[in-house]
Amino acid sequence: MSQHFRLPAGGVIARNEPLAFAFNGRRYQGFRGDTLASALLANGVHLVARSFKYHRPRGIVGSGSEEPNAMVRVGTGARVIPNAVATTVELYEGLRAESINCWPSVEFDLGALGNVLSALLPAGFYYKTFMWPNRAWMAYEYFIRRAAGLGRAPYAPDPDRYEKRFEHCDVLVIGGGPAGIAAAGAASESGARVILADENPAPGGQLLYSEERVEGLAAREWCENGIRELRARDEVRVLTRATATGYYDHNLVCLLERVTDHLGEPPARLPRQRLWKVRARQVIVATGAIERMIAFADNDTPGVMLAGAARRYLGQYAVRPGSRAVVFTNNDSGYDCAAALAASGVRVAAVVDPRPTGAAAARAAGRGIRVLDGCAVIAARGGTRVASVLAAPVSADGARIIGTTEELACDVVAVSGGWDPAVHLYSQSGGRLAFDGVQQCFVPGPAVQATSAAGAANGAFHTEECIAQARIAGLAAARHCVDPSAVGPVAPRRTPLAVTPLWEAPAHARRAKKFVDLQSDVTAADIALAAREGYVAVEHAKRYTTTGMNTDQGKTGNVVAYGILARVTGRTIPEVGTTTFRPPYTPVTIGALAGREIGGALDPLRRTPMSDWHVAAGAVFEPVGLWRRPLYYPRAGEDMSAAVERECLAVRQRVGILDASTLGKIDIQGPDAVVLLDRVYTNAWDDLAVGRCRYGLMLREDGMVFDDGVTSRLGERHYLMTTTSGGADGVLGWLEDWLQCEWRDLRAHLTPVTANWATVNVAGPRARDVLARLESTIDLSAAALPHMGVSAGSLMGVPARIARVSFTGELSFEVNVPARYGLALWEALTAAGAEFGITPLGTEALHVLRAEKGYIAIGHETDGTVTPLDLGMNWLVSGAKADFLGKRSLARSDTARAGRKQLVGLLTLDPQTQVPEGSPIVSAANAGRVGRPPVPVIGHVSSSYMSPALRHSIALALIEDGRNRLAEEVAVVCRGKPVRARITSPRFYDPKGERLHG
């Protein structure tokens, strides 16, 4: 546990809290405050992974979420994280991590064969081959898929909880660096509600490792003061470990907070991660900037890293990334890294800078650091760890080597190709980007939503200017919340960080691999190849080479790719443009996006007042919309058909009881209620007397049936409409749409009351006998309450309404009581009916009974393409009414033509054969040709059951010109086999409906 490369002092780490961890089976030690990456570097471990395509050895390049290489598997078993980014994994006691995408080990990986064959694997090679023999792609694909992909997907269900929450604020500041702290401070001075979100464990950004003094204070001290001030304000929320992952419409910003990922054993009650959905009136993007690589030969050798990352490991984690360093930079920020390396006892072999000598170079030379100006690093050497680099003088445009090459021994190379403002979220907000020629980077342009950018994210790379700019942005944002038209002062002019563009260093060897996108293994040659083959549009080049399409979304390589593409196509970078910035900024756990509404809570589950009883009775359920209704009530040893047969015979011969509470119920009151009914149903309603009910069919404007139900007239201007269970919300919405938008003069009020009433249907010859057992003021006699009659009163002391409505074809009473009494009513009826053999029935039996009667069921006989005339319900379509919804469409040429599919009955010649519902139907003549397609289909089976009452199978079907083909034989194609059947009337049982009027 030696941590050879840990500096004796400094860093924002808890030296008194050592943490043991394991990487690839070997045990190491780090401290609280380390990331897995910093702890590995402290122990001298650089080789952590094998690259995606060529399986080349890869080390740690960055220090945060921009890291392209260090993808490792963290954790074991159910809590594994397949592709964790080592630079963002906070170290905890007992952490276990392994390299991925390599076998048998990261030191020796057979996959490196890909590197040997790399000449055969340029960008887009897979478009050009794998086509022989014809249709053999899936054989090649088997191997390609196994080679591709990073880690393995976890196989065990996820034991962790993920929570979500909405949040609102006046100003959301994204990024907790100097700019973010200053902006949040200024915005919250006026008492505005401010959220400051930072993806790191602690805010501060570069201040945590910068040696510079800020407003007279040490960087860290300035930062701590700022944060303390913010935390003291009531209306300010400082969120750490919270990445702003997506910027959506109207200033909705999603923050993913990693609540317990940094704890080895998180408390069970806490979520692992929380997704914040923040609606902010103003957003300030202070997301800092991301350092760029430079493409030079073998720049992927472990030990080559970003200069800013090297400074951060030195300053924040007190870790020397190596013993002997070369700094390769095309801008002054590289010299800060050189100074920090030197101050930490790392020998700086040289600073290689393609620019002519400048002030920074002179200062470095003054400190005894050798500067090779006008030079570039043209290659790294070393295999699994860098051992030296080759540097050489280069032409002004960086394209040619113009002098002798010098080898510089080193074990770490700190590279700075310039800084790209992190404009991802700003771009997601719809904001345009502009190219800053001096600083060679894209910066935010005009905003579209209520947002602004501040600090390095806005191209200000000097701390003092970042802070000044951010304070102005903060004040302006707070003021805009109060007065949107307020115009704040303009941010001060920026002193630019001069960057001499060097996207690609010249190579001495022809076939050298200069990596542009490390994670996707894309080289400068690949970009050139794409351009050569005509994929010159930036989005084409990206897709052809897969630049920036992996988990880091090309954070450190995209602009380098644009630079190279511009050079090889003779364009400027603004002309090349950028690819679209798509959310999320960094990958988001799918569990966090799903939250707690998974498993049983995936969708709300609605219950009727009698649900508990059905469960206790052992009912088998079926989903109906968001409800679950009993399908059948099996007794011991019964399968579905046996149970359904028993339930059907009970209704036909004695009495059954059904929970119909799920039916939609809409209370309609007003002088024009009847006019509304006339306009939405196909039949006439003005002659319906109080105390009577009527069946109605509702069409869409295209003439197709979409719902049906019975409407009762309860009073002079008071109706109660029922709808199908599945159609309730749809019908309510349909009526509200017409009443509020088209017929605004109609005086009719709708009130949905579905859940207010418990509805129990008692059906069968003994139904009245059972009901008579209960004390009630309602006269149940046939005279007082005839078929399709309704009357109200009290039942066992509670308000009740009983309607003689029958879907089963039997004497039937639909009893409605306020929902709180539903279960008691059901139990009372069950007790009262015991002597009459009362039997609960489910929806399956209900459908058998209604099919025996030839009654249609929405969703069976109708599928949105069926008119009332197709269903043979001409009697229900009022000829007298001038208009009703859908009427005009019934007259359209195709809707009114002969030969449409019509509802008919169907009896298989073998009475014991039940054809599967949905089976297609062909003409008898074509029965023999079923095996030799194509065979014209003339219809399909819409309902199919065994009828206990008739002791044979019955079916309803929709057949072309069906009603003119009665008695004709057809063939029902059941799973490919023709079954002979005959077309009949759909009314199989009690066609005249005598049993209804008992």
């Binding site: 249709r135 792609w137 591709a148 996820d158 959506y248 990958p587 998974i598 062909v922 289909v937 399909h940």
Partner: protein, 415 residues
């Protein structure tokens, strides 16, 4: 230069310096026999089949940006022909047959992987609908099989088939010849092949006007000047109302966002395409290892290529309902296309009130799988000024007569 292992080997020696451009990028001529507006998969396929099937090579494909970056570059790459209505089944099956030979035909690996497309049923109504669809497909000569829950578990081990789920699975339907493909390869493959036959691919050329004379189309105004044309075919998907509006033709189309996302790449874990219309999620795993997951479409008109976040939440809730093991995987990238939806969720391919102006749109959420078939029949329609038998019922007039090809109603969900 033909693409093959040998050309790859030969060029490997030369450092891949001598690969030719995949398609030329000529200046537009002032006149073409046929101008295709729209450089997506459908437009490029149409141009290819005009040249290949009908020998008409004086053709230009005009694309306002780079080719293949509209819906062709944004879909979830599913290919299938398991449709209910005969008209749809025949058209999509013709496309599927073309898919089966497309890499060979275009000499461009489309990576069409016939790994099967499984539709899941969660209600008895959906089981009956599958019975009807499977029966109709078989009678149209299209392969499909009904699956029990046990079959599904064997076919897709990581699928959660426990009946304790909120929406327990009841069964499924698989079309083994369906699968997925590489979407970019379709645009580039057709462009390269059409270009080789003499078609001009004109990118960065936005159509700003459609010129008519005596009720006939005579050419288009573009950002790169006026181009006269004998016939003009419009295949611009989400922008069909905009472009056809230039000719005064109104359409029964609304353009909605359709969102999709990919997970981070992982080793192979899902070996078929799974579609669960009831809970609005469908997915497959790309060859790079990403799960490619599609969502329900938003229901407000939008050209922003951006959708509402709550549909992503709904989509991933449903995903975990089917595959609990994906909870710890991470979403890597999220985007949206603009899908041109007709009221019956079926395309409109044919003539328009303006002579010599033809429209191919209305593909909604199902355009990618139809690309070869769409190009084939649209080319035929343009050349003969008469629809091909396969698209004879996909007319604009069906919205007057009422003879819709209603896949939406049948499937219950516009997929």
């Amino acid at each position: 230069m033909r693409y093959s292992l040998w050309s790859l080997l030969g060029n490997a020696i030369g450092g891949h310096e001598r690969w030719p451009r995949a398609w030329r990028s000529p200046e537009p001529k002032r006149f073409y026999d046929v101008v295709i507006v729209g450089g997506g998969g459908h437009g490029l396929a149409t141009a290819y089949y005009l040249a290949r099937n009908h020998g008409i090579t004086d053709v230009a494909v005009l694309e306002r940006g780079p080719i293949g970056l509209g819906n062709t570059g944004r879909n979830t790459t599913v290919v299938r022909s398991n449709y209910l209505c005969d008209d749809s089944a025949h058209l999509y099956e013709h496309a599927l047959k073309l898919w089966e030979n497309l890499s060979h035909e275009l000499n461009f690996n489309t990576m069409f992987s016939q790994r099967g497309v499984v539709n899941l049923a969660f209600t008895r109504h959906e089981l009956a609908e599958m019975e009807r669809r499977a029966g109709a497909m078989r009678l149209n000569g299209i392969d499909c099989e009904l699956l029990t829950v046990a079959d599904l578990k064997r076919w897709i081990p990581i699928l959660d088939t426990r009946d304790t789920a909120r929406h327990p699975l009841l069964g499924g339907l698989v079309q083994r010849r369906g699968g997925n493909a590489r979407h970019d390869a379709i645009a580039w493959g057709y462009a390269r092949a059409a270009n080789a036959l003499g078609v001009d691919i004109i990118e960065n050329c936005a159509v700003t006007g459609i010129r008519q004379h005596g009720g006939r189309v005579v050419g288009v105004d573009t950002s790169r000047g006026h181009i006269a044309a004998g016939r003009v075919g419009v295949a611009v998907a989400g922008h069909c109302s905009v472009v056809m509006g230039l000719a005064g033709v109104k359409l029964p189309i609304q353009s909605f966002p359709l969102q999709a996302l990919v997970s981070e790449p992982v080793k192979p874990v899902l070996h078929t395409v799974v579609m669960a219309g009831h809970v609005h999620v469908y997915l497959s795993q790309s060859d790079k290892g990403e799960l490619v997951i599609g969502a329900a479409r938003d229901n407000y008109v939008s050209y922003a290529q951006r959708g509402s976040f709550h549909l992503i939440e709904e989509q991933l809730r449903a995903l975990l309902g089917l595959f609990p093991v994906f909870s710890r995987l991470r979403m890597m990238r999220q985007w949206a296309g603009i899908v041109d939806c007709a009221p019956d969720a079926s395309p409109i391919i044919g003539k328009t009130p303006v002579a010599n102006l033809y429209v191919n749109c209305g593909w909604g959420t199902g355009g990618f799988k139809a690309t070869p078939g769409s190009g084939w029949v649209f080319a035929h329609t343009i050349v003969n000024d008469e629809p091909h038998p396969l698209n004879r019922n996909f007319t604009l007039e069906r919205f007057h007569t009422g003879r819709l090809v209603d896949e939406a109603a049948a499937a219950g969900v516009a997929h």
